[in-house]
Amino acid sequence: MPEKPIKGEKRYFMTGNEVVAYAAVMANAEIMYGYPITPQNEIMHYWTRMAPKYGKEFLQTEDELSAGFTTVGGVLAGRRAFTATAGPGNTLMQEPISMAEAMRLPIVVVVQQRGGPSTATVIYSQQEVTLTTLGGNGEGFRVVYSTANHQELFDYTIKAFNTAWKYRFPTFVLGDGYQAKMRESLTMYDPEERGLKMVPTEAYVGKPGVPGIDRPPGQYRNTYNVEEEIHEVVQQYTKEFNAIAPEVAEYESFGTEDADLVIVSHGVVYRAVKEAVSELREAGMKVGYFRPITLRPLAEKELKEMAGRAKALLMAESSVGQMTRLVKEVIYGATADIHTLYKPGMGISAEDVAARVRSIL
């Protein structure tokens, strides 16, 4: 059995869902649990085609509750396990994700956002930001990477497994229907050949030896009897999450030092923003951009500094301010004017962004 589908580095032209499936195989993921929902289906399609060739497993479950909880079971057994979902499936998956948060289980979830609320469209949106970063009955102890292109889908799917297993917080790759279905060029590679070591996995249950005789039993719970108990647990998690935040948080920025206006965006919208900014700069306008790669945790320090300097901010996103709410919380106190370009459930083009900027400046 060949170990991996890709040797060395190679250029490919394929859909984002296919990229995610390849990335999971290249990251040595061992088992995927999933339930059909558009626009993430092809992740399962490509995974199931590759699975028997590379010794991988797949289980199609009865719903996303089950897909999430079986993924939880998979990581408890010590396997690099993942699932993928979207929209209403993401809603259902918040229950198992909250259990993973409570028990610090390193599940990896790929979300390909579709329109909302409810069934809405199967095409595209950025409306699952709130749900993915802060969903469930908890405090949002999770890492969320918002990708913008196929190269990032590949890179960050691999990275998600390492982040999850290193820090033991549920980790997400937040894509969208455009990224899922569009074909694009990227370089795929074997992370090990690049010196990128996969963080080793570890079983929580089913380890060698008889519990109580050779070792203590592994007993994991998410239920507590008294207020003080859960308070202490959440305080501890908060401390640990805040401590890792600066090294986990990622962002990209350009021209923010001298900008009259900085455009904040994430995911695929950032591509339109980047193009617009370069165009506007060429036209002599002092415009910059700030793009959080991690939506949770955010690059707080850098966002604060940027917002403290900027005269005005333009928030561009395909939702009614889901990213903006996260950013506003971090930059509280900044005096920059906040302008918005919200197109819920719709794509945003470089022309949209440039036109909005010209209407402000």
């Binding site: 089950s66 909880f69 408890l76 057994a77 249950v205 060698p208 007993q219 719970r221 998410n222 239920t223």
Partner: protein
């Protein structure tokens, strides 16, 4: 002088006495399960999952690897573990609310997929942990907190026939039975077979156990026993429903 009460070897001594109410049937079921684990010598292989509801009180009861999950979600968690590591013996332990209401889709589909896990479902005809509400298994006419005038089957249907349903949707190789805490020897025998069937790779194994809840039934010892021994079997027939050829039928 301390008296050492006889308990299964696979139980965790330092977490005893267990956390269940006086008169609760869970202790009897879990003792039978502990003895079955002892006799099969699988303490080092079992991954035990318990649901939400009173069953969660067993999260540290055994000296076996244990996961306390969410309401109704123990079946998929143990399925996920078993799929990822087929070497373990997966036990999903739940109540009738977890198995037949909020987690019924998981039970049905795990059974239909013939997952190699063992599901033990304790039926005490109501939701115990939340204070005695009507469950899918509440008997016709039975008073609960949400059927204070007695369950009216015209409005809320008849009690769920769990093992009969599981037997109907599983193929040869599955093990399906209904036991009762009123017959402890038989109960242990059924639970043991449900584990043996998983060990041999037979298929989905399911045992419902009729059990007691004097706290929410508001019954004394005599009435409690009368309900589980006489009343419940009128609807819930005790015995084996589906036995793989590799396992011997009871009493043969």
């Amino acid at each position: 002088m301390s008296v050492q009460v006889a308990m299964p070897k696979s139980w965790r001594v330092d977490t005893k006495p267990h956390k269940f109410c006086p008169g609760c049937g869970h202790g009897l079921v879990l003792k039978a399960m502990g003895e079955a684990i002892d006799e099969l010598g699988i303490q080092g292989k079992v991954v035990y999952g318990c649901d939400i509801g009173c069953s969660l009180l067993s999260w540290d009861l055994f000296n076996v690897d244990t996961i306390q999950t969410h309401h109704g979600r123990t079946t998929p968690v143990i399925t996920g573990v078993k799929r990822a590591n087929p070497q373990v013996i997966g036990i999903a332990y739940m109540g009738d609310g977890g198995g037949y209401a909020i987690g019924s889709q998981h039970l049905v589909n795990a059974a239909a997929r013939n997952e190699r896990i063992t599901v033990i479902l304790v039926n005490n005809t109501q939701y115990g942990m939340t204070g005695g509400q009507m469950a899918p298994t509440t008997m016709p006419g039975q008073k609960t907190e949400t059927s204070p005038y007695g369950r009216d089957p015209e409005k809320t249907g008849y009690p769920t026939q769990g093992p009969e349903m599981v037997a109907a949707i599983t193929r040869e190789g599955a093990y399906v039975a209904r036991a009762t805490v009123a017959k402890p020897k038989q109960m242990k025998d059924f639970i043991k077979k449900a584990l043996e069937n998983q060990i041999s790779g037979g298929g989905f194994s399911f045992v419902e156990v009729l059990s007691t809840c004097p706290t929410n039934w508001r019954t004394n010892a005599e009435d409690t026993w009368n309900f589980v021994e006489k009343e419940m079997p009128k609807y819930f027939k005790v015995g084996e429903i589906k036995v793989p050829e590799t396992l011997h039928k009871e009493g043969k």
